[in-house]
Symmetry: C2
Subunit: 338 residues, 2 copies
């Protein structure tokens, strides 16, 4: 068990705050007491206080992590990966939940800078703050890595998934299973939905299936509410299509909404409707039938961002870079050959 | 937008590290430069660096939060509540994922003490560390609140749910719906399962239904694996009971496993089988049919722990205390009258 300040206090028969004063050298301590504390530190091989070290070494061994919503099925896995990857290098993380608000993001980054963090990882940074150049500015002064939110005009370090090839893989899989009618379910305008929609249309064109284009916009993003809204909308949509059909949903919460809609309509999945999701959030494997989806590598996203940040911290002058991770189709039980 | 160290640097036309040197007064800076930085600080009304303040005020405005697994459906909500509640008082949180290991818990607490946190919240602390007196020792030196893990022999601050009355409410609800055969599904030995089992047996005795006692131990805890294991075991169990029947599951993941078992057996929920869960994790409301469950108040648990910790920080001499939150039955669509 590592030695802590409490053990030193016990050994030296003083209070913890006295030990702290000796280490930080910021309040007067009797010479005799100081010697006793120093002897205890020596005897127990206690490594001195991180805070005091921070002011000496000019690094705090802390990393700020910004997340839009921690109570979400996607982000906790990313954070776990970041925490685990940084721990071995002695870093602790400050966790900041921005509530998906651009002004909170700025507020937190300022607060993290005031705390002299050694670096920042921002998960799904707000487009406003990317476009305004805020992130580019910050990254000139402080090691910074963004997970997603990529913008080619901004000089920043990015780690992201190759959503384009993931979408292509998923839709091609449905075509290979013989589906010619593929409904595309998306949320309100976002970079990710637009990119996926373009792939969908491109593939339909390639296969001369553009006449079968069927796009449903559920007007929602990536929240639990999405499941209910998608279900309601898809109950109406599915009534008007000839079965069997296939659905590509832009995320797993939408896919779950489609699955629930099928249950309400007494349509069997995958017999009547094949469903494919995106993200591979845990819930997609816990429902019956388990949903076929595209793995977003949430753990690898966090891990890669942490490693990249450590590299940037080591060498502050390096060029900004982009890591694009491959996604992977996870075939489960929600699709079948027609 | 709050002023940050970067704004000061820009205003004073110096680098960020120069501003930091002036504030921390730890490296030589030219007098003329120092004056310019000070003028910029004055002009922009920049509040000085948190780290420097920490050494002066003897508080770091940081709280350590320990969690067994952040990538779990239960804990992120608790953490969100803690973070949100502490933010307004100017605290940042250090997030530590212990991987549900007792030695990691000790390691992290030592590391947090070395970082001079102002307090610690430990979510689901390991029984070993509670019983060994480790937590009692730590809480003598540092404001500490445990969420769950209650042990009446240990002097510590605890926030927990009244699981006993929650279980009673759920089982009585099934009885009121006319169910006389209630299967009790639990995991491997733990304080929480034992407590719930005692309530189950007591109620059966009160209603002279002890002959109908049917306990299934799925040998699992509160992990995603639980869903699959419960499904497999319950497929066998449910084949041998006369329908309709009811199932009380000790947590929602088990309840979901029971629901999936019913689907595999083509049993309708709630027509053939009524299911009631515990915890109210988000997934219980996202499946079809939505699962009736007992709300564990995850947000309120975190909020109460944060408030309690702030109280302890303000008055370090106060007695340890216990907050027991009431649970609440959330009736949804997985139970019906027989």
């Amino acid at each position: 068990m590592p030695v802590n300040i409490k053990d030193v206090a016990k050994e030296a028969k003083v209070s913890m705050s006295t030990v702290s004063r000796v280490i930080n050298n910021n309040y007067p301590v009797k010479e005799e007491t100081r010697k006793r504390v120093e002897a205890a530190i020596e005897k127990l091989k206690f490594s001195p206080n991180v805070l005091a070290r921070a002011l000496i070494n000019q690094n705090t061994k802390t990393i700020g992590v910004l997340v839009p919503r921690i109570d979400n099925l996607f982000f906790p896995t990313v954070i776990k990966a970041v925490e685990t990857s940084l721990k071995d290098s002695g870093y602790s993380i400050y966790l900041c939940d921005t509530g998906d608000k651009a002004d909170q993001e700025v507020m937190y980054i300022n607060s993290l800078m005031a705390r002299q963090v050694d670096g920042i990882i921002s998960i799904d940074p707000k487009t406003e703050n990317i476009k305004s150049g805020f992130y580019e500015d910050v990254s000139k002064d402080l090691p910074l890595v963004c997970i997603n939110g990529y913008n080619k005009n901004i000089k920043c370090n990015f780690v992201l998934n190759d959503q384009e090839s993931g979408t292509r893989q998923a839709i091609n899989y449905l075509l290979e299973l013989g589906h010619k009618n593929i409904i595309f379910v998306k949320g309100r305008k976002s970079y990710s939905y637009d990119l996926k929609k373009d792939v969908y249309i491109d593939i339909l064109k390639e296969h001369k299936l553009l006449k079968n284009k069927h796009i449903v916009d559920v007007g929602q993003g990536n929240s639990y509410e999405t499941v209910y809204v998608t279900m309601d909308i898809m109950i109406k949509e599915l009534k008007n299509v000839s079965l069997p059909t296939a659905v590509f949903a832009c995320n797993d919460l939408m896919a779950l909404g489609v699955l629930n809609a099928c249950k309400r309509l007494n349509y069997e999945v995958p017999k009547d409707v094949s469903i494919i999701g995106f993200d591979n959030i845990v819930i997609s494997s816990l429902v019956e039938p388990q949903i076929t989806t595209v793995d977003q590598n949430m753990y690898r996203l966090g891990e890669s961002a942490a490693k990249m940040l450590l590299d940037v911290i080591k060498d502050e002058n390096q060029q900004t870079s982009i890591i694009r991770l491959n996604t992977k189709l996870i075939t489960r039980d929600s699709c079948r050959r027609v």
